[in-house]
Amino acid sequence: MTPKLTRRRFIKSVIFFGAAASSGAGFYLASAAAQRPAGGVERLVSLNVNGRTRRVDVMPQETLAHTLRYKLGLTGTKLGCNRGECGACTVTVDDVTNYACSTLTHSVKGRQVVTVEGLRAADGTLHAVQQAFIDELSPQCGFCTPGQIMSAVALLKTNPRPTREEARQALSGNLCRCGAYDHYLNGVMRASGQLS
């Protein structure tokens, strides 16, 4: 129906994008570099994820969720909608919550990425939020849980004793199709020591 699905467009894009991919993969310096505008990204990057430096080959258009899940094996970060509409992919970048499905991996170079896998202490002790979510039976199916945890962890970092309303606001970008919202809020209140 639309012109972009025609065969000519398809072939054109293969040619263009094929060329772009090969230059990205290696022939970057020397003559190729002379023709391209300054500032194009190198594919091999160092990322700081959960306190460790990881060297990864990252496509220019790659999202952080893709890198975490399919290249670094960190599948705790979930993909629900992949469109910024659910929060299942929430991670923190420099302590601020981001949707990993809607973040370019190249934009987190030199910054601290933390996923749900990075919260436990070295001896295996769970983060206070994780433990509180278990104690309060917060999750139902659990799919949205890693994202809810990351939002709660980021909140408590800046506001260690939030009101329930503040917690509601902070977790409002995390959809729970099981509707376990109140249980998550109970968890946040417990993690912040306001529920005995």
Binding site: A20, G39, V41, M59, H66, G84, S172
Partner: protein, 329 residues
Amino acid sequence: MPAYDNMPAMELYQPVQVEDALSLASRLADRGWLLGGGQDTYGWIKDRAKRPEALIDLNGIESMRGIRETSDGIEIGALATLTEISTNPLISERYALLAKAASVVASPQIRNVGTIAGNVSQDVRCWYYRRGLDCYRAGGNLCYADTPEAQNREHALFNASRCVAVTPSDTGPALVALEAQMVISREGGQRVVAAEDFFVGPAINITRTTVMEPGEILTAVRIPAKWANAEYFYEKVADRNVWDFALVSLAAVMRTEGGNIQDSRLVCGAVECTPRRLRSVEQAIQGQPRNQATADMVAGMASEGAQPLTHNHFKMPLMDNLVQRALTA
């Protein structure tokens, strides 16, 4: 149309000097795509509804960050995030209208990365268009939303011209109310455009929502001191408080003297393709007290002249009721 998880291959540039970004933007023109927080970008590209060949990520450009005081108000770097704007002490204190508008955009995570530039430059949210249909706005020759069977509950009441999509930006109406100035740079030059003239409707240009041309970059937004510490009202009505776009929003600033309104600006979002100033209401309330009697006097005035579609009549009383609230809040 299938949905894809990954974006197709593209080039990515991450300039750190605004000059480099401007020369890239001018060199790539329509083939390039400026990137702020990317929150209005990735969906387009994942759906293959837009196919830029290269992304120009502006986030490394230090000179486009920050919020500072100037001799006449404040200057907000184009890369300031909506979270920064809604929590900035200077803005919260003097231009609380803007802080409030920024605080109700999308969700916390989107506000954490979404920039003010991206918020005012974002494309319309008409789902026919977003789905990649070749409607007027996409260069075709029909509008899928303006038919008797169409789902057009969210669409325009005023000044439609072939396209009936509305402005989706929550900060746009606040910036028009505050008489903001948009600083637009291009290679070798700069122009400053009033927020009111920054947004354009389909009669002027059906493929763009702002006056910006390919090669231009919005580098800053200036808020003049004129409306600092003014009385204000802001309300966004949406189906859900998170994620959803406004069905109607109202941003208003007022100056009262001796109990009467001396000057005011009332601007509605989501009722036409640009933020809509309610000039007739502004004129009618001048010199009147901010109270119920004045609200009654202007009842129905905001929605006068509306041309509703099949499913959006409800926006008319919504506009009128928001004006009531603004005058009695």
